[in-house]
Symmetry: C2
Subunit: 363 residues, 2 copies
């Protein structure tokens, strides 16, 4: 998608010879600083995953695959299989909660090991990483093509700009291109359907006001940035036509775990007869989990509540914004029961959130 009118993805190969390296956008510095980080080793890739220079489950998976490629490449010099296998394990564990990471790492490494000879293995790891990256792009585009139907439907009835509320960042920065929740909106824009995106700030990490607003601004979307508290009244006032959010994990019955605050918007949408959509690739579904009640909710650092990353004199500083050392309970996610979800938008089609329909389309 666009940054200063130039096309970008969140991770791409550069032209270094003989072995390509990768570039990423440093997401910890957005929206105030646009900086590209070159990843040319497995250690650098691991570090960038750990430091959250890149985030979003699909993007983390792709970065993990390329990290495996670097690890295989590095084994050409050290020639020590034990070191290589330890490095693969280290990549897998760089972020504990990202399911995609382990999957992509294993897939890339296992595929490379089906070849004999180091050069063939390097090449196989590189090709596998490229394929995973391309798959993510295709998934996002297909989610966009499936989800845009709901936007087109409203537009065909109202002939007015379609007002869409989103929470957190589920755009191209979280995937490779397009995104999940934002993909239908970008496709609508390509089709000249007028949309206005309402972006929740998304406390406490402000992924909405920092990342989604940045995407929207550079994509020249019509957008509004709002506090997380405002969405309910905006729905009461008839200013929102639909809600689209991403998902971190979806249970077999269609219950959705997503960034904390999602559930409150789903309740408000229901109370105002506004459709509430969840956009997520198949990899987000966890068929080992029956309902949302079984999803474990991650608790994060208290300091996210007391301090905020503010941009002062050209750099980021953590500054206090609340009574420090107050006891907190900083849960990162919440669960939206499937009864509040109108449809789940996937790369395979749109599904009603119930066990039967989910199984039929995806299993």
């Amino acid at each position: 998608m666009l940054y200063r009118n130039e096309k970008f993805t969140s991770l791409w190969e550069n032209k270094s010879k003989p072995y390509p390296q990768i570039n990423i956008i440093d997401q910890t510095l957005l929206p105030f600083v646009f900086s590209i980080i070159k990843l040319d080793s497995s250690d650098k890739a691991i570090e960038s995953i750990k430091n959250m220079n890149l985030r979003g489950a699909p993007l983390i998976g792709v970065a993990g695959a390329y990290a495996v490629y670097f690890a295989v490449l590095e084994s050409k010099s050290h020639k020590d299989e034990r070191i290589l296998r330890e490095k693969i394990k280290e990549i897998s564990e760089a972020r504990p909660t990202a399911v995609n990471l382990e999957w992509a790492v294993n897939k890339t490494f296992d595929y490379s090991q089906t070849f004999s000879g180091i050069d063939a293995q390097i090449n196989a790891a590189l090709e596998c990483s490229r394929a995973i990256r391309q798959d993510e792009i295709n998934n996002s585009l297909n989610i966009g093509l499936n989800g845009v139907e709901f936007i087109e439907d409203i537009y065909s009835r109202t002939c007015k700009p379609v007002n869409i509320l989103t929470h957190c960042n589920a755009g191209w920065l979280a995937t490779i291109d397009y995104g999940t929740a934002l993909a239908p909106i970008y496709v609508a824009q390509e089709r000249n359907i007028p949309v206005r995106l309402w972006i929740d700030e998304t406390r406490p990490r402000n992924q909405g006001s920092k990342l989604t607003a940045w995407e929207a601004y550079h994509q020249k979307l019509d957008y509004k940035l709002i506090s997380d508290n405002a969405g309910g009244q905006l729905m009461r006032d008839g200013k929102i036509d639909m809600v689209i959010v991403g998902a971190d994990r979806i249970a077999s019955n269609g219950d959705v775990a997503n960034k904390v605050g999602t559930y409150l918007k789903a309740l408000a949408a229901k109370d105002n007869d506004i459709p509430f959509y969840v956009a997520a690739p198949k990899s987000t579904f966890d068929f080992n989990i029956e309902s949302g009640n079984d999803i474990i909710i991650e608790t994060r650092s208290d300091s996210e509540i007391f301090y905020i990353d503010a941009f002062i004199n050209g750099e980021y500083s953590k500054v206090p914004i609340a009574l420090e050392n107050s006891p907190t309970e900083n849960i990162g996610f919440d669960v939206t029961p499937s009864r509040l979800v109108s449809n789940i938008i996937t790369e395979y089609g749109n599904i009603y959130p119930n066990a039967q329909d989910i199984t039929k389309l995806l299993k």
Copy 2:
């Protein structure tokens, strides 16, 4: 209530002779700096209302009454009735949305003018200000005594600490003592009923994390500070027993306008069968307004979304936390329909939120 184990109210007379002056706590500096401002003239009182050194409708009303007393006192020197009446008007208009302000100003000035002779008028204005202040304290205490019944009821059934969620600041800083939403909690504490207060941060102005957390800390309450987004999941997890909030305006049918975000918590309470209480004095009811749909929602400065008051090197600075100059829609309040409100706690008793019961008790 308590600050460093010493009893305080939010506004009190000092012992200056021959005419008492008043002291207030500078609420713009909390929680990082505790500073007392001496108000000794009508201009200083007006300035402190305008700059939000004090806030909360009941407190603004009391400060307005004392400002009238200063204005009458000043007229002893300048002896110009025109100047006096202009000053009274200026006090009335220091904050346009606070209904209590105009009411308290008119009451104090009108009462003083029933006396003849400047010394009698000064004395009357002072006595009237004192009475208004004492009435606010009594109202808060009575709200506390009425509301504590709901807390006691839960405690008698569970014999476990009662977990109460609140939004924004409706404590003693917003009134003179006790507060509205917090009054039942402070009364429960006095009666040794174990309570835990869950405090919403309350973006964008963070009155929860700055003011309510400060009150709770110094009152030695068991409390937790949370992001506005977290309350829904905490209710799903069974961690909240009841919600108590204040109100800015209540329509004849019981619809409640309060700090933006209140409606979302009311929805979550309903979805989880948790009682949702609104605590407010009679002066908050607007019998000229039939339903919440007729309440005009104030839109505030965009900059509240982009910047935050952070405490850096011993002073407050506005620091950027989002993509600056993004379009926003910063509504300050929302409306919670009466169907989501279990009871309204007033100084006259607890009322079911419907036109008939409200009229019967209050009109």
